[in-house]
């Protein structure tokens, strides 16, 4: 019930956005199923924990596409609920928005964050030709409740990540199954995806490597894994890199369900945070 009220306005927005965009003739099914990926926790098209070089929906250069999603991550001591939407303009630009609500289970304390994303496809194609799809991306994160972030030593309540992303799929890949590899290099000063703000007294590397792999077991069932390197910027708290293994079911180009086992490492003093991620995405 609480979840419902929390998301009601967002869900309304997500439902209305495609309707209003229908008049702009949002129609995107020109790409092969699965090439739009799912929705990352930052809202942009990708995997779950990281964005990918792919742009959301199945829009081609002639089309405009849109997607909306709801995700939840439930680990030992925390939950993260995310809802968001993204638009793909001619498979060149992507804009995205996500609202993250992070809950500390022990005391029901909450931290909320807005993320706005932008992607620009530089070159290449995911499936065809020899040049991988190469995309530049930016994610602006802004905390609605910066008190916790400042309390643990963060310097800023908001910040912008920049990344370059490359993805390549092989139709005849591993075990003759269509397989994909995505690699990102991200510049970020974020602490725990921005939920604990940006910057700190003990800055780690600002360059982070992220990677994801996927194998299409069938045309509708995808299995894979992701890795997101994170830096430890706060002297008071330890931060680890994050990994997940996932399975996604794509019954159509307009609907996907993703489940993952996630290992987020230590978060805010609580070690070994593992659990599950679930996500539903609808796309036009």
């Amino acid at each position: 019930m609480k979840l419902r009220s929390k998301y009601s306005s967002l869900v309304t927005l997500l439902l209305l956005a495609p309707v209003s965009l229908a008049s702009l003739s949002v129609h995107a099914d020109g790409r092969i199923k699965g090439t739009g990926g799912v929705s990352s926790i930052g809202g942009s098209g990708g995997g779950g924990l990281i964005p990918w070089a792919t742009l959301t929906s199945h829009a081609t250069r002639e089309e405009i596409g849109a997607s909306g999603f709801i995700s939840t991550v439930d680990v030992d001591d925390f939950t993260l609920d995310v809802a968001g939407a993204a638009f793909n303009f001619h498979d060149r630009f992507e804009i995205s928005y996500a609202r993250q609500n992070f809950t500390i289970k022990a005391n029901h304390a909450k931290i909320s964050q807005d993320t706005a994303g932008l992607k620009y496809k530089l070159a290449g194609d995911l499936i065809y030709g020899n040049v991988p799809q190469i995309t530049l991306g930016a994610e602006y994160n802004s905390l609605r409740d910066p008190a916790t972030a400042f309390a643990v030593g963060a310097e800023e309540p908001d910040g912008t990540d920049f990344y370059i992303s490359a993805a390549k799929a092989w139709i005849d890949g591993i075990g003759h199954r269509t397989s994909m590899l995505n690699v990102n290099v991200r510049h970020s000063e974020s602490n725990q995806y921005g939920l604990l703000g940006f910057g700190g007294d003990d800055m780690g590397s600002r360059l982070h490597l992220e990677a994801a792999g996927a194998v299409f077991l069938t045309r509708s069932l995808v299995a894979g894994a992701e890795y997101r390197h994170k830096s430890d910027n706060l002297g008071a708290l330890r931060e680890d890199s994050a990994t997940d293994i996932y399975i996604a079911w794509l019954p159509s180009k307009h609907l996907s369900f993703t489940a993952a086992y996630v290992d987020l490492g230590e978060i805010a003093g609580a070690p070994d945070q593992t659990g599950f991620y679930f996500s539903i995405q609808g796309a036009l």
């Binding site: 020109g30 081609t60 250069r61 002639e62 065809y128 139709i171 005849d172 045309r219």
Partner: protein, 146 residues
């Protein structure tokens, strides 16, 4: 009946060659043309492909003026050739065929999906489908936006 017999013979041949390659110490990729069912297999695939295209509103207009019999013939030769079968392609080049049609990337993908459906209907295993699709995909640059 005859087709069944052909299939049985081919299945026996295929199993035999699988047995041979399993026995040989060198791991060798099976011949794609044989895996597609050889001459009769490719004929079935191309038939299903034409039927699928015929009911695909996204792309049917591109084929409105096509000579179906010629398309069938050349498509069979083309698939045979690129799957390492014993054929010669006697049709026009991909560029010549598609110049002036202004095939969009979405149209190309629609055709790829039609081929996937045709391969499914022909009972081709997904791994074999992908081997063929990967080879067909290399012609994209000679087909779209011409």
């Amino acid at each position: 009946m005859r087709i069944q017999r052909v299939f049985k013979t081919m299945a026996a041949v295929a199993m035999f060659s699988v047995g041979i390659s399993a026995c040989s110490s060198v791991q060798q990729e099976s011949n794609l043309y044989q895996e597609l069912g050889g001459e009769s297999g490719v004929a079935v695939i191309v038939n299903n492909f034409i039927m699928t295209i015929a009911s695909d509103e996204r792309v049917i207009d591109y084929f409105a003026v096509s000579n179906v019999q010629r398309f069938r013939e050349k498509m069979v030769e083309h698939i045979c050739l690129i799957s390492d079968g014993p054929c010669t392609y006697t049709g026009d080049t991909m560029v010549d065929v598609h110049t002036g049609m202004d095939v969009k990337e979405g149209d190309f993908n629609a055709i790829v999906e039609d081929m996937m459906e045709a391969l499914n209907e022909s009972g081709v295993a997904i791994g074999t489908q992908n081997r063929l699709l990967a080879r067909l995909a290399t012609f994209r640059g000679e087909i779209i936006y011409l």
